[in-house]
């Protein structure tokens, strides 16, 4: 029985690599095919480590469905998959729906401590992934307060428009010691929505205070509070 499980896992990994070689209109043609990871996932320090779960038995046919030509079948298969390695690979599926389904599952596992922060952050910061898909990974990281997530969002305030807009909102859910100074800086961002969202986030972190776009006033409040 163990032999057949191991064989199925190998088949799934080889098939996943072949599956990533295909191309649809939802991914860049030059996006590199990621290599499947075999690392042991460590829980994040900020999330209590859950008891190690036994690897779920892969239902018969699931491995083949993960590499099915029909993206609907692949998406359904990914929705059933619970192995972070499979999901990390599927997060770069050429089909946006499949990739987003995988990322949503990864997000759930990340919140449960089953996925290492740097692994989901690698997806969230991979600019070869289309924005409309990558945003799911960014939101997944942002949904859990963690030093790694906060650091990623702060760095994103200097990134693309997508990253800056996401960070200006999502930092509201991170450690205020990190988020507030970064959000005050974002008040002078060139993008109007980044500025407005930074104000909203600061209002949330300050329990309703509103100094608008006045960075000096926000900075004064922050220093006085400290």
């Amino acid at each position: 029985m163990k032999k057949s499980l191991a064989l199925a896992a190998v088949v799934a990994l080889v098939a996943a690599a072949f599956w990533l070689g295909r191309k649809t209109d939802d991914v860049r043609a030059d996006a590199p095919a990621p290599a499947p990871t075999t690392r042991v996932v460590e829980p994040r320090a900020s999330v209590p480590r859950l008891p190690a779960l036994p690897t779920r038995a892969v239902a018969r046919g699931l491995a083949a469905d993960l590499v099915a030509a029909d993206p609907k079948i692949r998406r359904a298969a990914v929705a059933e998959a619970a192995d972070p390695r499979v999901l990390l690979t599927a997060s770069r599926d050429p089909d946006g729906d499949v990739a987003r389904t995988a990322i949503l599952s990864l997000t759930k596992l990340y919140a449960e401590g089953q996925v290492e922060p740097k692994e989901i952050i690698a997806v969230a910061t991979d600019r070869t992934i289309p924005d409309r898909t990558r945003l799911f990974a960014i939101n997944g990281v942002a949904g859990v307060a963690s030093p790694e997530g906060a650091a990623m969002l702060v760095q994103m305030l200097g990134g693309t428009t997508l990253e800056r807009r996401a960070a200006s909102v999502s930092l509201a859910g991170q450690d205020p010691e990190v988020a507030v100074p970064a959000l005050i800086t974002a008040l002078s961002d060139g993008d109007e929505y980044v500025r407005l969202q930074a104000v909203d986030s600061l209002k949330l972190l300050s329990r309703g205070r509103d100094f608008g776009l006045d960075a000096g006033a926000w900075r004064a409040w922050w220093q006085a509070r400290r």
């Binding site: 609907k72 998406r75 929705a79 946006g96 729906d97 987003r100 389904t101 949503l104 409309r132 898909t133 945003l135 799911f136 960014i138 939101n139 942002a142 949904g143 428009t161 997508l162 807009r165 996401a166 200006s168 909102v169 999502s170 509201a172 859910g173 929505y193 407005l196 969202q197 909203d200 986030s201 949330l204």
Partner: protein
Amino acid sequence: MKSVVAALLLALALPAHAEVPQTIGFTARLVDDKTGDELTGSHQLSFKLFAAATGGAALWTENVTSDVEEGLLFVDLGATEPLTAAVLDGRKLFLEVTLDGVAMDPRVALGSVPYAVRATEAANAATVGGLGVDQLQRKITGGCNAGNFIIGINEDGSAACAPDLSGSGDITDVTAGNGLTGGGAAGNVTLSLVNCGQNEVLKFVGAVWTCAADANSGGDITGVTVGGVGGLSGGGASGEVQLSLLSTCASNQILRFNGSSWGCSNDLDTNSGGTLTAVTTGGNSGLVSTVNGSTVALSLLTSCSNNQVLKFNAGTGAWGCANDNDVDTNSGGDVTDVVGGAGLAVTNQAGPIVTLDIGAGAGIIVGANTISLDTDVVDLRVSTIGDPRYVNTAGDTMSGSLDLGGNLVTNRGCPSGYVKHGATCLENADIQLSFSLCANKCRGQNAHICSSGEIRAVMQSGITIGGGGVAGDWADDMDSITNVFVIASGTDSNSWSTFAQTTTTNFCRCCTDVE
């Protein structure tokens, strides 16, 4: 070893010519100090000059073998070893004489005599009396031939000569005449033109030269030639020139331009200079003429009856009197009344200018160039909200048919930027925003964040959705519990959403109803 007593005598040994001597005569009487005998025969002598009475290095040495007769020795020092200026440089020198290997003691101090050797240097003195070579003139030698005069001294002292250019005559005075200034009665004299004003010239006026304006200032005619189109003769390039019309024409010919040139031509205007002799009205011309002396008066026919007109008969080709068939039956008539119909008000009904105004009916606004309905008029017959532009079909019934003329009843569609999907207007683009800003944005457009039901309906319709599709868009389930969705699938309407946190950004797309 024999002792020698020498009586020394130094003297300049002058050569035969008058040049400065280069040797010093040395004379001595040699005796044996023991026997007192005078020395004779050949002896080896060595002469050395030193800078000191004793010791030191020899500055000059000359070895001589000399015959001594009756004790007398004669030697020219410097004969074989020149006494140069470097040796005789002005210092006091001491001469040491060695006879047959025995040096005489003490050395003989030399006085000024040897320095006569340096007189050679005077021949090449750099200055004479403080004057340099370039300030001195060599001695003048020679003279000039007859008829020539010395006009200068050459560098070598010879005379530079030139013939007498004055000729045989003599000018005793140079007087400036008219137009000149300068002159004189002695020495070199200069004559020059008198000074004139700026751009003036000297002109000979009457009997004198005088300053005058240059009448031809700015240019000059250098030649006058007949143009290529002809008709002229004469011209020239100097002196006074004349141009004249061609003189080759025959009598009574004229100059005529044929389009390219002028030439002689007969005068074709044979009436030139004539008088009008007759004016013929011609038959059927409709004209008559009267002659009063040399004046001819033309007029239309005067034989017509009252109110007749002149008509041309194409059949006969003649003008003649005829009745005016186009009688203006309204001639003298006028509009006697203007009556305002429905909705028209009449001003100045009797004329002559009648004004009709629209606006007599209620609910009509008449502008300068427009007529519109008055929305302030509340007429519940057509609308329960008081706007006559709308017909409340739910509450009213129409008693007759509605005549819209050529117009059609159409659906008014979606706002700009929205696309109609069934009864829903869906924003054609989306933008990444927080849920809060998305709600504000949609409210600003009199719209709302698309509900899950609206988006599901649009997805199920299979219509292509703009702005990258709905995947990643916010959705509101619109129920009493505030659940916020974000759509994960852009294609599967049965598996398309998940719960989302409001502290994230997603794509904002607004919806509104079809107007």
